[in-house]
């Protein structure tokens, strides 16, 4: 990403988001994330800085860099974080998701009120400090999305599945992503009674990739967790039968990790 682009996107951000307040809040929430998540964000930024430096020196570190988490649009207001003063390195790249957005300021998403209400309710839940972020993924049909830490995932899953206000009985998608700084379990849920979609991003530590299994909450998660374990190397604790599903049992490594190197003895 060139510097020019960065500037452009930075400008966009300043103009298009719902006023000064929202920007502040968002940054504040990120700040909080830095504090609570044992410096994940700062690590990531460091890693990026190293990479940028490498690129300048002409060293090819990695052909591809992970998408930046900060670029997620429109963080929801988080009252308790507002007191933290915003301090942000000015050069943090923040691309906007859509080009047309540059011309006119974005309307608040139609899902924003719903998400705000939803988050307020979630706050009452035990361990809700692990809720890192909640935003609307505009590119994806205004999909409300939660970002949570792995410790809280099981509690949240139970809540989402069973609470009468949620009733997310249906797993639309169960995916996992390697961001090089951390792993993410991505679950897209659907609630038939409320006709609502919800994305949940569960941040998982990369070195010790462990997260509670939800196979007993949604039957559909069973094989998907096995697949995520097999290909991404995430260990789902409490899974009834965590074996490799796609690859052979003797396989070495987890191919979808970005640092995966094939182990081909015979070749």
């Amino acid at each position: 990403m060139s510097d020019q682009e960065k500037e452009l996107t930075q400008e966009t951000k300043a103009t298009n988001i719902m006023g000064e307040e929202a920007v502040k809040n968002e940054e504040a929430s990120e700040e909080q994330g830095v504090q609570t998540l044992s410096n994940t964000t700062s690590q990531q930024m460091n890693a990026e800085a190293v990479k940028l430096a490498n690129e300048e020196q002409g060293i090819k570190s990695s052909p591809n860099t992970p998408p930046k988490q900060e670029s997620r649009e429109n963080a929801v207001t988080k009252p308790q974080a507002a007191s933290v003063p915003p301090k942000k390195p000015a050069a943090t790249p923040r691309p906007a998701a859509k080009k047309p957005a540059e011309e006119k300021p974005l309307e608040p998403s139609r899902k924003q009120p719903w998400l705000d209400k939803f988050v307020v309710k979630l706050k009452e839940l035990e361990g809700s400090e692990h809720l890192e972020d909640a935003f609307i993924n505009r590119a994806n049909n205004d999909l409300p999305t939660l970002v949570v830490k792995s410790e809280w995932w099981r509690t949240l899953a139970l809540h989402l599945r069973n609470h009468p206000d949620c009733q997310f009985h249906y797993v639309q998608n169960f995916s996992s992503v390697d961001y090089e700084t951390h792993l993410e379990v991505v679950v897209h849920l659907f609630s038939f009674p409320h006709k609502e979609r919800l994305g949940v991003l569960v941040k998982v530590d990369r070195a010790e990739a462990k997260v509670d299994s939800v196979a007993d909450i949604w039957d559909a998660a069973n094989w998907n967790e096995r697949e995520a374990y097999d290909l991404m190397g995430i260990i789902f604790e409490g899974h009834p039968d965590l074996r490799r599903i796609m690859l052979t049992d003797q396989w070495i490594g987890h191919p979808l990790r970005k640092d995966y190197v094939p182990y081909d003895e015979g070749v």
Binding site: P95, N137, Q172, V177, D219, W223
Partner: protein, 365 residues
């Protein structure tokens, strides 16, 4: 007293009715199944890993190999997700052509299902009738994009080739023919007493089970949930057209058969309606030479013949996806199999497994 013991039977990966390379490790007591452990992965080609090193256009032919019975919807799944992330406008004619091909592909796919399912049950002739009609569709596709199974037809922003002269006419002829031909299928199959006996009351699961296992497509609708992404999370231009969502009542395999037959009818109806409104026009939107997809994350689902075919793309702004994940409906649908098979007869295994309608290319990714 005779000493009896359970027998471990290895069904597959080479077996006539596991529809490819599915392997089922079955514990049987006589012919009664006590436990099933499906072993998948024999056809795993690492499409998701490969996609990370491919540009968005290069990924499309790989999707053809997932669900090779309805490659058009696979094409669309990945193209649609990319367009969503880029916020691209697709010309009307391109969307119409996509819809025609997708719906024809659904018809073809369901015909394969009906044929192979009856073959699983031991009836040979319907298989050949179905393949004959499917052949017409494949020939139409062949004329359109030069391939019978792996079409590689859609592109981000449109479709690759416009319909050749007279093609739409041929499609219309086929639709009219097929609408009549369905009566023949009902004559041959629907009233057959052995077929009814084999399928009635077999493989029943509840709505709650279906939701928990995240079944989709006919496998979900058969439990009475009218859930069709074409209407409920509408994509392409489906919202312009009228069609019903058939649902089942009892949820057995017989219901699935009737449901899929009705879906063929509905698909034909959609094609007919599209043919009435399709006009000349561009087939590609304004798309840059090198596709750079803006940073972001998107998940979109489309209704493939087997259910919700989703595509989850995480982009870092480059011309290649950072992560691409397919929500493969066969993979989700197959999960419920061990539950359905407990206590069933081996003959029912074939009937139930066939009823789920899996494609191993898709299960294994």
């Amino acid at each position: 007293m005779l000493r009896t013991e359970e027998m471990l039977l290895n069904m597959g990966p080479q077996h006539p009715s596991t529809h490819g390379v599915l392997r089922l490790v079955i514990k049987i007591d006589g012919e009664i199944i006590r436990e099933v452990d499906p072993v998948v992965g024999y056809l795993h080609r690492g499409t998701e890993k490969l996609a990370e090193d491919l540009t968005y256009t290069q990924i499309i032919p790989y999707t053809d190999r997932l669900d090779y019975v309805s490659a058009m919807t696979n094409n669309y799944a990945v193209v649609h997700a990319t367009e969503k992330l880029m916020g691209l406008e697709v010309p009307e004619r391109a969307e119409y052509l996509r819809m025609i091909t997708m719906e024809l592909n659904r018809v073809a796919s369901h015909l394969v299902w009906v044929g192979t399912y009856l073959l699983d049950l031991g009836a040979m002739s319907p298989f050949l009738y179905c393949f004959q009609d499917r052949e017409t569709i494949l020939n139409l596709f062949n004329e359109l994009c030069g391939a019978r199974l792996t079409y590689n037809y859609m592109r981000v922003g449109g479709v690759k080739w416009d319909a050749p002269e007279g093609w739409l006419q041929k499609v219309e002829e086929f639709v009219l023919y097929m609408q009549k031909e369905l009566a023949t299928y009902h004559d041959l199959i629907s009233g057959n007493d052995i077929f009814l006996q084999r399928t009635r009351g077999i493989g029943i699961y509840t709505k709650e089970q279906a939701l928990s296992y995240a079944l989709s497509g006919s496998n979900l609708r058969v439990t009475g949930v009218p859930w069709d992404l074409r209407q409920h999370q509408s994509y392409s231009l489906y919202h312009q057209f009228q069609f019903e969502i058939p649902t089942g009542e009892t949820g057995d395999v017989l219901d699935k058969y009737h449901l899929r037959m009705q879906e063929i009818e509905e698909s034909l109806k959609i094609v007919k309606q599209v043919l009435d409104v399709i006009k000349e026009g561009p087939i590609m939107g304004k798309v840059p030479k090198v596709l750079r997809v803006p940073e972001g994350e998107v998940y979109t689902g489309v209704e493939s013949p087997r259910g919700e075919l989703g595509c989850h793309i995480v982009s870092n702004g480059k011309n290649k996806p950072w992560r691409l994940k397919f929500r493969r409906p066969s993979f989700y649908n197959l999960q419920i199999l061990p539950e359905l098979l407990k206590g069933e007869n081996i003959s029912n295994l074939v009937a139930i497994l066939g009823g789920i309608d899996i494609i191993l290319g898709e299960v294994d990714g």
